[in-house]
């Protein structure tokens, strides 16, 4: 059976370097997918500024199995425009009109312990917002 785990990280210190641990339930066998979202930014359609860097690793192996550069969400879901080509979307890039289904990053991480370690580095350094959250979703098979 599929189980979803959510780990929320609140970042309020500019340039913060955070070590995190996600405890897996004992009945989890494999982590099959990962999704990471950020929340708390004003819509910014022009910037693709980096928010932070995230690594996840297994403590037993000290092996990084997931690394991602998180960026400020850009509100142009499937609505990219090109010169001389008419825009075929319904809307103006709003997620609830032009957004697709969220996709997860597939991995196969067999559980060696009940812990996943992580390391997060803030790259915004106080721009845009005073604090924001990073949500890490682990989809696991039990």
């Amino acid at each position: 059976m599929k189980k979803i785990l959510v780990h929320t990280l609140k970042v309020s210190t500019p340039g913060a370097k955070v070590q995190l641990q996600i405890r897996l339930p004992r009945n989890v066998k494999t982590v099959t997918a990962i999704n990471v979202t950020t929340n708390g930014f004003p819509v910014d359609s022009s910037s693709k500024r980096e928010v932070g860097w995230l690594w996840l690793r297994l403590p037993e192996m000290r092996d990084v199995f997931f690394a991602e550069v998180l960026k400020v969400p850009v509100q142009e879901h499937g609505n990219a425009t090109f010169s001389n080509i008419p825009n075929l979307s319904f809307g103006a890039g709003n997620a609830w009109i032009d957004g697709g289904k969220e996709e997860t990053f597939s991995v196969v991480v067999d559980k060696l312990s009940t812990l996943v370690e992580g390391y997060y580095t803030d790259q915004l350094k106080g721009d845009f917002t005073a604090s924001y959250t990073v949500n890490i979703y682990l989809i696991a098979e039990t």
Binding site: I4, V6, T37, F41, F90, A95, W96, G100, N135
Partner: protein, 132 residues
Amino acid sequence: MSFKYHLIKERFDIAVTSANQSFKGEFELDKNANYLLGIALTSDRDDLLFYRGSQKMLLNDVELFPEGFESKLLLSGLNVAPDERMITLGEIRTGNGKLDILYKDSDHINAVFAAYRVTIYAFSAVDKPEQS
């Protein structure tokens, strides 16, 4: 998946009337529904649901989505084909299914609160869908 006329489609509403609060909904699935195949989430204010919403969802006390699971991950835009908007859950046996939803509204810089409605659609089957 079986044909659409074999699916039981149900709609459940939660009214979100105040900011930064949690709202609980307890819904009973159709007595003839034996397998929950998927769900979809919509709202009369999609922007508020997208930016402000998160929910915990349980079927017969079995967790489908944990607390803090953002609503935006369950939304699909109009650009997604109608036939593909449902979030599939596998084929979960429902019995006399009870769907518990704890919806949480949280402040967001892009969406100022106004009362809104969260609508959950549940798609169930009477018989186990044939594997194609």
